[in-house]
Symmetry: C2
Subunit: 182 residues, 2 copies
Amino acid sequence: MKYCSYCGSKLDFRVPEGDNLPRHICNECGTIHYMNPRLIVGCVPVWEDRVLLCKRAIEPRHGFWTIPAGFMENGELVEEGAMRETREEANAEVDIQSVHTVYSIPHINQVYMFFLAKLKNLDFSPGVESLETRLFSEEEIPWDELAFSSVKFCLEALFQRGSSAQDSANLGHFVRSSEPKR
Amino acid sequence: MKYCSYCGSKLDFRVPEGDNLPRHICNECGTIHYMNPRLIVGCVPVWEDRVLLCKRAIEPRHGFWTIPAGFMENGELVEEGAMRETREEANAEVDIQSVHTVYSIPHINQVYMFFLAKLKNLDFSPGVESLETRLFSEEEIPWDELAFSSVKFCLEALFQRGSSAQDSANLGHFVRSSEPKR
């Protein structure tokens, strides 16, 4: 970030009065440009003992499996964003049950919030960003072909596998964790 | 947003190829400037049957009561952000238990994520942004002097009051809701 997006002047990078972190500051118009993490919202769509995954038709991780999720947009609720992504990527309609997993990746300033969601019916199909959509039982999950660590984490939590199982036992329905800082 | 923060050129506002929403686009350097909701993280710090609130020493809502919370910074985990704010506003140390409430305010593009947290000890005091810090039982909560709707919602959930109680019963430990869209 070099220029002020409001007035086009060159930006300074310093600690504003009363703050404790350096920020991008415009000396011309006075605007302080804060930079904050982005929120990725999505659903873990379940039907009985199976979960709906999407094979990605786009980069990054083209050809790998994911749950339907994407960047939350301005003007929507978190759960609306999660349902929108589920509609866009899998043409699926869901009833949201609860927050399932929250997962931070601090080195790229991202936070993932995934909701446990019940599929309303079996009427789903690949959206433009998906090559394929299908239901997987625990035994069928393609663990080595998952697109992202956040997806692996959330499926481990769903099926109470690995280190997530312990967290889940401690926290009730909800499981929370994060990638280690690098 | 009028100017490109990378190269300083004037921005266009149109739908990029393959997208379905208009974005701020730089025709000079090609950067697409996405705008996304900001995340406010905080703790609901409890000690036995009481909760720690802070009286705000800053605007907005100077003199009103809140839980310790603030904008999540780049480079941190959600729970680190919540603990940092608790330290900054109440000089308090906590053990985070679980996500407590998630609350969206779409018309200002904000998402609140509050964690249920146990105070490690009674060694707390006002930080520079607080006038006063104290523990409140349910009967003592200053319902008419709470700073924000997100705080009212999270305290109603904590004490299972009002419409939140029903959500809580449905969702187990976790309570989630949002302000209606305007």
